[in-house]
Assembly symmetry: C2
Homo-oligomer: 265 residues x 2
Amino acid sequence: MKELVFVGLGLNDEKGVSLNGLEETKTADYVFMELYTSLMPDFNRQRFEALCGKQVHVVSRRELEEENGAIILEAAKKGKTVFLVPGDPFIATTHVTLRIDAEKLRVKTRIIHGASIISAIISLSGLHNYKFGKTVTVPFPENFSETPYDVIAQNKKFGSHTLCLLDLKVVEKQFLSINQAVALLLEVEKKRKEDVITPDTAAVGIARAGSKRPTLKADFVKNLGAFDFGEPPYSLIFPGEMHFMEVEALIAFAGAPSDFRGLIR
Amino acid sequence: MKELVFVGLGLNDEKGVSLNGLEETKTADYVFMELYTSLMPDFNRQRFEALCGKQVHVVSRRELEEENGAIILEAAKKGKTVFLVPGDPFIATTHVTLRIDAEKLRVKTRIIHGASIISAIISLSGLHNYKFGKTVTVPFPENFSETPYDVIAQNKKFGSHTLCLLDLKVVEKQFLSINQAVALLLEVEKKRKEDVITPDTAAVGIARAGSKRPTLKADFVKNLGAFDFGEPPYSLIFPGEMHFMEVEALIAFAGAPSDFRGLIR
């Protein structure tokens, strides 16, 4: 059967995939995988191949973005093709084009969802999902823009929390650290002076969300710099107005100082 | 070992859980589950029990919310306890208190994430995740408030999309339909006249996200009423400003009329 099934690998390791996702892979004629849009710290391809009993072709950024995934589309025109993607397959916007191209070629597409870094970070923090505004990525210094500052400012105006993903180059093993991200945002503050990110702003740093050993630390920006978050990937939350229960959650799960109780609104 | 592991069941059926989640369940001394915060349309407890080889105690809303999950905390003080929750465990805010209470009793807690309805809906639509503002739930008429209208208005002001979850009572099998939700929002528009939800507003209705047969339909509000979405659960997206690729995605995946190309900003 000609079809292209996008399967989310979920988080962290080869057992982040759902039972449905593994079954689809076991019954595929062709199996592709990309591992560059997100870091799965404990993922091992050989162990995954043993689990699904298939040989997996790892596609490069070039094959996907410059050659528009031609290798995957060719396979999908011949038989059941599974494309494995870290997290939930379309939370990174990269693969939407491939799905549109497949549908245009009359190849049916389906999605088997996986756990996403977005819901994992929100779940870990204990902050309320419905209070998060727009998500934003903080880019490396060489591509830096003031967009993250603008998004945080916009969200704060409505009391909303901001989830910041920190930029990464998985293949090159480069990861923007929580410290670096905070420093970049403080630089913008120096220029803009809108009181969005100051040394006294509350923030939550999260490392390795979805792994067996995530690290969370909530504190004021001025104290966060001294904290060792360990290995990547990293993310940051800037809370807006917090409910009593949200502050208690940050104290219980993220070691927030008790001064955070003064932030309850 | 005294610990409480929150395991996300993921979406739709008993195979929505990750391999990690199933392994944790297999090695637990006590297994609890709740099935009332989200609908998993094709979930079968007996089949799940066969998969994990454990007897599963389904806890009621009363046991969790009125009795503060005492039955789960008592078990966790004695041995490894797994609590299975639809989707990603803390996207519904209900269980955060239980986790705080466990930590206060010095019971260690961990989370095994699952696919969440939030990322599933965004993935299915092909709209860009970073362009979504705050998420909101549209309540049943008897609890209706103008909050959803306010959130959509606020998001639109910044060109952001709004994901609306539609209220549900799983045990009572009551589900707010896409039609009803749109009608309730049009009522608010009649009163407020802020041009937020009109018959000419673009919207995307989604039924059974995460199932093997999700239904999506993008259209103007005036045309959406005639569409049959089939079985629940339901959700709605009100897009803000759309990029070319987002409109193409809605045409390819959600049967949007080609007039949607006029909405590209």
